[in-house]
Amino acid sequence: MKTVRADGGKDALKEKLREAFAAPAPVDKERFLRTVPQPQMSHVEFMLLQIGYMKKWIWAVSAFVFGIALNGACFWNRDMLWVIASLMPFIALSLTTENARSAVYGMEELEMASRFSLRSVVLARLGILGFFHTLLLCVLVPLSSRNSVYTVFQTGIYLIVPYLITTVLSLGASRQYHGKEVFYMCMGIAALVSVLHTVISGGAKILYTRDYFKWWVAAFAILSAGFIMECRKMIRQTEEIG
């Protein structure tokens, strides 16, 4: 008589039991599933989820600028206003390129037709980055004015204007162009604004005296209005395919 090993026998028994009690294949599964309400994601959850899809370099640039401001102001005791103001265009670049991603990669059509449409995606990106940049500015302004002769208000204006110039020009450009050329345009604009600011703040310091401050405030007001207009145009563009 052949002896059956306990472990081999247990496996065979398990297999036999599985065959005998196999669940029947589902019938009309799709129709059944349609009758069961599926739990849906809320708008807040969707917005927070978008953070995970944002490019890592956006946070890296902001951390880099913050690091420079902190080191320069607190450890090297230097006037960091001009350096940080020249770097602001690259923080603005993160906002403009992130918003242009759907258009650049041809995802607009798919995203427009989804429950959380392209409009929601763009608003989420704008909202998250806008909030984050506001926080960053609240930290950069006191750091930049720490060793500077300018007041906090003046410092804020001198920091925000290059940021707004970059965003207004880049958002305008990204509405008119498609494909990877948009990234190139935005990068080119940011680099130009940064370089020109560096050169002008070094060679034409008179523009930063109080005689001219009213022009800076006027520029801030005009650019802020321009920024709002560009955002509105961009959001309007998300409602319909071009």
């Binding site: 799709e30 129709r31 599933l33 349609r34 009758t35 599926q38 739990p39 849906q40 994601m41 969707f46 989820l49 899809y53 991603r101 990669y105 041809g106 995802m107 059509e109 798919l110 995203e111 427009m112 037709a113 989804s114 429950r115 959380f116 449409s117 995606v121 409602e239 319909e240 395919i241």
Partner: protein
């Protein structure tokens, strides 16, 4: 629970500066497969985009069981595969489906399960972890079909879905469409007449110069669809059935 499904397109038009792309089209589509045929520039893609809410009609209304096309609830029941779509180059196939699932409002756990299910359905499970930029044209198209099915749509709009698929993949696709047509309204446009001809019990909608010239069930007892299609474009002043 019986789910009503009726897509009502009521005198929808789309006019550009000096061209009427879609001219007062009216349709009522219920569960099943509806093939949209027409020459290039006939207005098929324009009509489909209006149905998907990504293009605003200049006149008329589009509703799905009373829901207006511009509402979130309408889009929640919609699945769309555009004719030519892009992708984020760093995404893998799986990442792409999860991202689209998020846009469709699916929760993470459901999205993961559904993505795996669909990758298996379109035979992309081996390529799921590879970046989309390495996919062939046919693989991208299959991925596009998968994303359209993520939210189990009641209305599935497919614009040239078989473009880039080889004959074997086209047969698989037809079988899949037949199954989907049992539970959803499926509207697909194609230049490949045989795609519609070989799908059982499908409607045929023909467009020409922005207007409808034919809409009826095609049950195969008619003559060859391609010959019939070509005849429609030879005859002038054909009325919509």
């Amino acid at each position: 629970m019986v789910i009503m499904m009726e897509l009502t397109i009521d005198r929808v038009s789309k006019q550009y500066k000096n061209k009427i792309a879609v001219d007062r089209v009216s349709l009522r589509l219920t569960k099943g497969i509806h093939g949209l045929l027409g020459a290039n520039g006939a207005g098929k893609t324009t009509l489909m985009r209006m149905i998907c809410g990504i293009l605003k009609p200049t006149g008329g209304t589009i509703t799905l069981d009373g829901l207006d096309v511009q509402t979130e609830e309408y889009r929640a029941r919609l699945g769309y595969l555009p004719q030519d779509f892009g992708y984020y180059p760093d995404f893998t196939g799986y990442d792409f489906l999860l991202y689209m699932a998020a846009l469709k409002g699916l929760r993470r756990t459901d999205a993961k399960f559904r993505a795996k299910e669909l990758l298996q359905l379109v035979a992309l499970e081996d390529a799921a972890k590879k970046k989309i930029k390495t996919y062939s044209g046919g693989m991208k198209q299959r991925l596009g079909i998968a994303q359209a099915l993520l939210n189990r749509p009641d209305l599935l709009v497919l614009d040239e879905p078989t473009a880039g698929l080889d004959p074997k993949e086209r047969v698989r696709f037809r079988n899949l469409i037949e199954e989907l047509g049992e539970n959803s309204i499926v509207l697909l446009s194609t230049h490949i007449v045989s795609d519609i001809e070989h799908i059982a019990d499908s409607d045929v909608i023909m467009m020409k110069a922005g207007g409808l010239i034919y809409h009826d069930r095609w049950d195969g007892s008619h003559e060859d669809l391609e010959a019939f299609y070509l005849k429609q474009f030879e005859e002038e002043g054909q009325e919509v059935s």
